[in-house]
Structure formats: structure tokens, C-alpha cells
């Protein structure tokens, strides 16, 4: 899975606990036994991952469907 992330979504959000801006990092995304590394906005301190709405409802939903039909 290759996902081009729209970073404008992430720019406004900071980690509420750590009070730091998110950075882009490879994160393992998995479903139904398949997993892929994807660049995602992540809190550099606590590791909290942010899944923007556009990603969840767009590319992610598409990949979910493909994996469900595999």
C-alpha cells in the first residue's frame, strides 16, 4: 500500500499530552493478517498516531475493501 498523505490535515494538530508537533514516521498498518508500513503523523514523544479523516475514509477504506475480498 502506498499512501500519499495530505499533511495540511496534520499541521494543525499537536499531541495534547506531550504538547509537541507531530512528525512523519513509518507506522505498521494492519488488517486481516496483512500489514504494511505507512508514513503517518506521529507524536515523537509518546508515539500517538494520527489518522486523518481523509485517509480513513479514502485510501484506507479502499485498501480495507481490497483485503476483505482477498
Amino acid at each position: 500500500m502506498s499512501v500519499k498523505l495530505d499533511l495540511s490535515d496534520a499541521a494543525n494538530w499537536v499531541c495534547a499530552d506531550c504538547q509537541v508537533a507531530l512528525i512523519i514516521k513509518k507506522v505498521d498498518v494492519s488488517y486481516l493478517g496483512s500489514s504494511f508500513p505507512v508514513d503517518m503523523p506521529v507524536c515523537p514523544q509518546c508515539g500517538l498516531v494520527f489518522v486523518p479523516e481523509a485517509l480513513a475514509l479514502g485510501k484506507m477504506a479502499e485498501v480495507e475493501k481490497t483485503l476483505e475480498d482477498k
Binding site: 494543525n12 494538530w13 499537536v14 499531541c15 495534547a16 499530552d17 507531530l22 507506522v27 505498521d28 498498518v29 494492519s30 488488517y31 486481516l32 503517518m40 506521529v42 507524536c43 509518546c46 508515539g47 500517538l48 498516531v49 494520527f50 489518522v51 479523516e53 480513513a56 475514509l57 484506507m60 477504506a61 485498501v63 480495507e64 475493501k65 481490497t66 476483505e68 475480498d69 482477498k70
Partner: protein
């Protein structure tokens, strides 16, 4: 249970759909000309294509298009509505097209010699067919010219140059023609590997299937054996004898799979309702002009079945018909590696059985899809997203928050048990109470109450295990109450219990209301027209349908019957969980249904009511008419509200009727949320419940992780209670929270960041 998991079962299933059977014209034509295809081409004005179709089956088209006795016409469906199509005249017309005879293609030489005795149409056809197959042919004719009886037709009917043109084929095929020769049969049989006696003369015994005589290698046919002259039947004799000779020389069975040779009766069904009667275009002596031919060809109704596809938006949506669909399903279930493209197709069927109700052979695509879903579940190949939300709803209804069973307050036995079902309780909880009161007042022996779900969603989802569990839960409570007679308001529950628990005594609420009379307050005296939508699960419950009509007219309404009602009623899109697998299609189904009549609708299923009303059709539940309703024909509650309605119904009833207190609500449930209408609509669309939002916020506020938007001050938090991650954007607001957005995904993101 349908078994299409093996090839044989599949083929039997395929054969039940008769859409691919030949139209009557083609079946009745002894050479099986694709008349329908030919007429379709002619109707478009494509004479060349029409001629090509014709020539494909007929070896001497110039001659035959003039002399054919057209038995096809007698079978033409057009004849039931006006005059049958002038098929032979149109064959003649398509021969106007300037298409050269396709170049002769001969198979590789087989070095076997075949003699044909008799140069009439039968012998000529055998010669043409066998020669193409690579045999060396010798044709003996006693007269000084070939063609036999065709010479007895007038030159106006059969211009002589057509004979010469058609017979030129023989030289192209290198056939040795011996005119004015009457050979000795015994000698010929010695000289050749096989002989076809096409004169129809002689004292030979002929097998009607294979045209074999008692003498190996000698075959016989031709019109004299038949008694009357039918040019096309003679040609069929020649063709069928040629098949036998080919098999004989290849040493394979003469008799295997020879059904449907010659004229036969087709199984194809063609509905002519709505086809306007018309007469044939008058035929001039010299034949049709191009324009006349096109007009006549356009009268062909292009016979086909598709009865089911015509009435089912789902079957129409995927562009095929059941015969093709069962193969698609089979292939999908057989895939070991690779994408299963038909998953959504299988899950989109409403399993409502309308197809079977209209099909001449009762083909039930719904049963096919239901079986397929069970198989997918067993194979662990069912896409989780297809039914999870509905199954979660069912689990809710059969869980603590809703499920309950009690004898009538103050009694210890029940003669009756009211089971309103999960959907009515979710949509109109106040009516459950009203009906329960009515039943207690009108039935003696005690009326118990059981809340829960019958398991229909599990059945539709192919989850046989969950269906069994739901039924077991019902059975246990039912037995504990002494197995009372069950009063059902929902037709899906009725169908489920009737099919799966035959030992349980059932009565429809509608039958009871008719018997006992409606409450005084009910009779409205309105004289408006109202159209009845029968829920699809009542398809074969004629008595229930009758009761409903009785009640509706007693209420003072004029019943406007929908074009499809009772046995041919349609589904609202909830059946089979279509709405979860294919929301757009479910919407289309509703849109089609609500457009069938300008009248307001009344139905007796809460889901049908809610779905129609949600798409703008004023629709009432029969209980709305009898007991009144808060939503007055308009939109019903959403998913979250339905959960809440069910839970509250149970709490209130237990408290008020049985004096029991219900405790143990989830802590998060007390979180107060401020939700705009737009947001509620969004949640409905995204299948997110208010309780999901509460859980996310509870988790985040208890110290879970969240994001902060520096500009808006909103928080964004996520929580994954099970298989779905929910994200909620919110901000504190007084003693609660305002929610701005919510979305979800199924993929699991980032390990270690879950509670």
C-alpha cells in the same frame, strides 16, 4: 439447502434458469436458424449481418429462403399477439444483401470415402456437411440435374439462377457428382466406407434418432420416408445423418447426447403482457423491399424470459441473469488465491424470494445467495464490514439492555406471549406498550412479554451459529414461560419462527386484531386512498395479508393496491442486509418502490416504514393508524435512538409493570453530548453510534491519548473497542461535550497505542 458446491449441482442449478433456451422459432426450425438474432440484425437495418446469421445454419440459403415451409412461424410467440412474423420472407429479404458466401473451410482430409445417393435437398445437405468435415464425397443422382423436388416450384418463387449459385458450393467442395446414375446399393456399400441413401426409397428400416439402418455403414433418410415434402425437414435429415456418419467413421457413439436435434419444443418462457398486437407487413409477390423487411423484423418481440430481472433491481444491477449469476457465485466460492470480485454481489441480494415467485421454474436467487453467504462464513471469507454493524445491533437486542421475558404482571402462567421484535421496539417503543396493553385486555390466560431479536440478521449474514444462538435464547425463555402461543407483530420474526421452530404455536398480531376487533379509539373514518406495501417476509402469508386489508378498510381507507403486492411484493432493502452491503442499491430499491403509487403507503413492518419515510414517502405503520404515532408518516429514529428506545422500553416496562429496577448502565453512557442534527445525520451515514462517541471521549478523558488543535481548541481522540477504530473531534461544553466530527476505520494502526 442448495448444493452448488460441486460441478454437477451447479449445472443442475444453471439448467433451472431457462433464459438461455432457444426461442420457439429457432427450436422449431429443424436446422435451428437463429431467427431471433437474424431479426435483431434486420431490425437494425443490418442486412449483411442478418444474412450471415442465416447462412451459418443453412447450407443453400438462396434456395431455402424461397422454398422453406417455415414451421418456425407456427411456433412464433408473436402469433399470440397479432400475426406471427413472416420469417421465410425475411430470410429472402436478407439474401438481398451483397455478401459473398464465406470461403469454404474444410477440415483436414480424413481419407474416408462416403457416397450419397439422391441429389435432393437432403442428400445435398449431407454432402455439404460431410465434405466440410474432410471426407471424400461422391454424389449419385438418377436425374440429369441436382435439386430434386425444388424444380417443381415455379421460377417466380425460385428463380433458377439461385439454384446454380447455391450449387456452385459443390464444386468448391470438390464433390464428385455422378448424374443419371443409379448405382447398385450392395456394390456401393462395398466400395465406400459409409453410404447415405437420401432418396427415401427402399424397404429399409431406419432408426429415427440416428438414421442408421440395420446394415452397418448404411444410413437412410429423405422426404419419402416422411410422406410429405418439407424442404427444411429433408435438410435436417441430411444433416443429422451426416452427424451419424461422421460418428460412425470416427468410431464414437451414435446415440450419445443427441437431444434437441430437429424440431423440438423449447422451455423458454416469454411474457407477452404489455406487447401490443400487430399484423404482419403485407407481403408483395416478389418479396419485401428493404423498408418493409425492416418494419416486419421490428415486430419480433425478441423472445426471452428475464421475468425475475424485470422485477428485481438487484438482478438488473449486475447486468446478467440467474443462469450466469450462479456460475459467478460458484466461481467466487471456489477461488483459493486472488480477489473475490463477487463478494458484494452475493451480499447485495435481499433474499426476498421475489425472483422465485415470478420465475416459471421457481428459481430462487435469494436461496443461492444465502447459501453462498453461509459458505463464505465457513470458509472465513466473509468481509467483516458487510454485516458487522447489523450483527452488533442484534447482539444489543439479545443482550441485557433489551432482552427480557416475563409472565403477565401478577401471574405465573402465560397462555400467550407477545414478541414485538427488535425493530418495532426500536422504532416505535410506545406502540409495543400500547399493543401489550391491548393484548392483556383482550386475551385471557395471561399474556407474557418477551423482548429480543429473532435472529433474522444472522440468518441473512450467513451466520448460522448466531442464528441458532438467537433461536436457542428464544426457546429457553419460551419454555420457561410454559410454551405459550406467540403473538408476532413482525413478519420477519414470523417467517423465522415458522421455518425454524415449527413446534412453536404462532399467531400474527394482525389476525388477532381482526378477530378481537380494534380498540374503539382506532377507527379514523378517513376515506383517503392508501397503498399497502406487504413486507417481503409475508410473501406467502395470504391470511395475514387478508387480515391487514380487512383492518385497513375497517379504518376507513380506500385501498389502492400496488402493482406488485402480496405474492409479488418487493423488499425495502433491509432484507438480506442489502442496505449494509450495498447502500446505493438499497436506496434505488426504495426509490423504485415508493414511486409505484402517488398514494401514501401503509405497511406492517417497522423497517419498511422507516426506510420509505426516510426517502420522503409518507408511510405509516398499521399500528400508527390503530394506536397513533409520534412520527406521523415521517422519518423515524436513527440507529442510536433505536438502541436507546429499546433500552428505555425495557427499563420502563420492568419498572412500571413489574416493579423491577434496572441497574448497571455503562459509566460512559452518562456522558452528556451536544450533537447537531447535521452531525447525527453524519453518524447515521457512517454507522457510528452515540455510545461509540461516548466510549471514545470517556477513554480520552480518563487519561487516554488525544490530539489538540491549536487553532480551534478541539480535541481529537480515538478508541478501538473491538474491530473498528473510532475518531471523535470534540470540545468540553458545560457539563458535557460538543462533538464536531467523527469517523472510523477498520485497519489497525500502530501497535501499543491501544488501551
Amino acid at each position: 439447502m442448495i448444493d452448488f458446491m460441486d460441478q454437477k449441482g451447479l449445472r443442475e442449478l444453471e439448467a433451472r434458469c431457462i433464459q438461455d433456451e432457444a426461442p420457439p422459432c429457432q427450436a422449431t426450425c429443424p436446422l435451428h436458424v437463429d431467427v431471433r438474432g437474424m431479426l435483431a440484425a434486420l431490425g437494425r437495418g443490418d442486412f449483411a449481418a442478418a444474412r450471415a446469421v442465416y447462412q451459418k445454419s443453412v447450407p443453400f440459403p438462396g434456395i431455402v429462403s424461397r422454398v422453406c415451409d417455415e414451421p418456425c412461424q407456427g411456433a412464433c410467440t408473436r402469433g399470440q399477439v397479432g400475426e406471427a412474423i413472416a420469417i421465410r420472407a425475411l430470410e429472402q429479404a436478407c439474401m438481398q444483401a451483397d455478401v459473398p458466401r464465406p470461403p469454404v473451410k474444410k477440415l483436414r482430409a480424413r481419407h474416408k470415402r462416403v457416397a450419397v445417393i439422391g441429389g435432393g435437398l437432403s442428400g445435398l445437405t449431407a454432402v455439404a456437411d460431410l465434405s466440410r468435415k474432410g471426407y471424400d464425397l461422391t454424389l449419385y443422382e438418377a436425374a440429369d440435374r441436382l435439386g430434386g423436388r425444388i424444380w417443381q416450384t415455379s421460377a417466380t418463387t425460385l428463380p433458377r439462377e439461385l439454384i446454380a449459385q447455391d450449387l456452385a458450393l459443390l464444386s468448391e467442395l470438390d464433390v464428385a457428382v455422378k448424374l443419371e446414375t443409379s448405382p447398385d446399393l450392395a456394390a456401393i456399400c462395398q466400395d465406400y466406407d459409409a453410404v447415405y441413401l437420401a432418396t427415401g426409397q427402399g424397404e429399409v428400416h431406419v432408426d429415427p434418432l440416428t438414421y442408421a439402418t440395420d446394415q452397418p455403414g448404411l444410413f437412410a433418410g429423405g422426404s419419402l420416408l416422411r410422406g410429405h415434402w418439407s424442404p427444411i425437414a429433408s435438410m435436417s435429415d441430411g444433416r443429422r445423418a451426416a452427424v451419424s456418419i461422421d460418428r460412425y467413421l470416427q468410431k464414437v457413439s451414435l446415440t450419445a447426447s443427441r437431444s434437441n436435434e430437429g424440431a423440438y419444443e423449447t422451455k423458454l418462457y416469454t411474457n407477452t403482457t404489455g406487447v401490443g398486437a400487430s399484423d404482419a407487413v403485407p407481403l408483395p409477390v416478389l418479396g419485401y423491399s428493404a423498408e418493409e423487411a425492416i418494419a416486419e423484423a421490428q415486430r419480433c418481440i425478441q423472445c426471452q424470459c428475464l421475468e425475475c430481472v424485470k422485477v428485481c433491481a438487484y438482478l438488473e444491477e449486475y447486468g446478467g441473469y440467474p443462469r450466469q449469476y450462479v456460475r459467478t457465485v460458484y466461481n467466487n466460492l471456489s477461488i483459493v488465491m486472488g480477489e473475490r470480485h463477487a463478494n458484494q454481489f452475493i451480499n447485495s441480494c435481499a433474499t426476498c424470494g421475489l425472483c422465485a415467485a415470478v420465475c416459471p421454474t421457481d428459481f430462487d436467487m435469494g436461496a443461492v445467495c444465502k447459501t453462498a453467504r453461509s459458505v463464505m462464513v465457513q470458509q472465513k471469507r466473509m468481509p467483516p464490514s458487510a454485516h458487522e454493524f447489523a450483527l452488533r445491533d442484534m447482539a444489543f437486542s439479545n443482550g441485557d439492555k433489551f432482552a427480557m421475558a416475563r409472565n403477565q404482571p401478577g401471574t405465573t402462567t402465560s397462555a400467550y406471549l407477545f414478541f414485538p421484535g427488535c425493530q418495532l421496539a426500536g422504532s416505535s417503543p410506545e406502540q409495543v406498550t400500547a399493543v401489550y396493553d391491548y393484548l392483556q385486555a383482550n386475551l385471557s390466560g395471561g399474556v407474557g412479554l418477551m423482548l429480543g431479536c429473532c435472529g433474522a440478521p444472522a440468518d441473512w449474514a450467513g451466520r448460522d451459529d448466531l442464528r441458532a444462538a438467537a433461536l436457542a435464547q428464544f426457546q429457553e425463555s419460551h419454555a420457561a414461560l410454559g410454551r405459550p402461543k406467540v403473538v408476532l407483530a413482525c413478519s420477519s420474526c414470523f417467517q423465522m419462527f415458522k421455518a425454524r421452530l415449527p413446534e412453536v404455536e404462532l399467531v400474527s398480531l394482525w389476525t388477532l386484531l381482526q378477530e378481537k376487533g380494534m380498540p374503539e379509539t382506532a377507527v379514523s373514518g378517513a376515506s383517503d386512498a392508501i397503498a399497502i406495501h406487504d413486507p417481503c417476509t409475508t410473501r406467502y402469508e395470504t391470511a395475514v395479508q387478508d387480515s391487514v386489508r380487512h383492518l385497513v378498510s375497517q379504518l376507513g381507507y380506500d385501498i389502492a393496491e400496488l402493482p406488485r403486492s402480496r405474492e409479488t411484493t418487493t423488499c425495502c432493502g433491509f432484507g438480506g442486509l442489502m442496505v449494509y452491503a450495498n447502500r446505493d442499491l438499497a436506496k434505488k430499491v426504495v426509490a423504485q418502490r415508493i414511486a409505484e403509487s402517488p398514494a401514501d403507503y401503509v405497511t406492517y413492518c417497522a423497517v419498511c416504514r422507516d426506510y420509505f419515510a426516510a426517502q420522503g414517502k409518507p408511510t405509516r405503520h398499521l399500528l400508527d393508524l390503530i394506536f397513533g404515532s409520534s412520527h406521523d408518516g415521517g422519518r423515524g429514529p436513527g440507529f442510536s435512538q433505536k438502541h436507546e428506545n429499546r433500552a428505555r422500553l425495557k427499563r420502563q416496562l420492568l419498572q412500571e409493570r413489574w416493579g423491577e429496577m434496572v441497574t448497571g448502565a455503562e459509566e460512559y453512557a452518562s456522558i452528556r453530548l451536544n450533537l447537531s442534527d447535521a452531525l447525527l445525520a453524519l453518524l447515521e451515514d457512517r454507522l457510528i453510534l452515540v455510545e461509540d462517541l461516548q466510549q471514545v471521549i470517556a477513554y480520552a478523558e480518563r487519561g487516554g491519548h488525544k490530539l489538540l488543535n491549536a487553532q480551534s481548541g478541539h480535541f481529537l481522540a480515538q478508541f478501538r473497542p473491538n474491530t473498528v477504530t473510532y475518531w471523535v473531534e470534540y470540545a468540553p461544553d458545560g457539563d458535557g461535550y460538543t462533538v464536531f466530527n467523527a469517523y472510523s476505520h477498520r485497519m489497525d494502526v500502530g501497535e501499543g497505542k491501544r488501551p
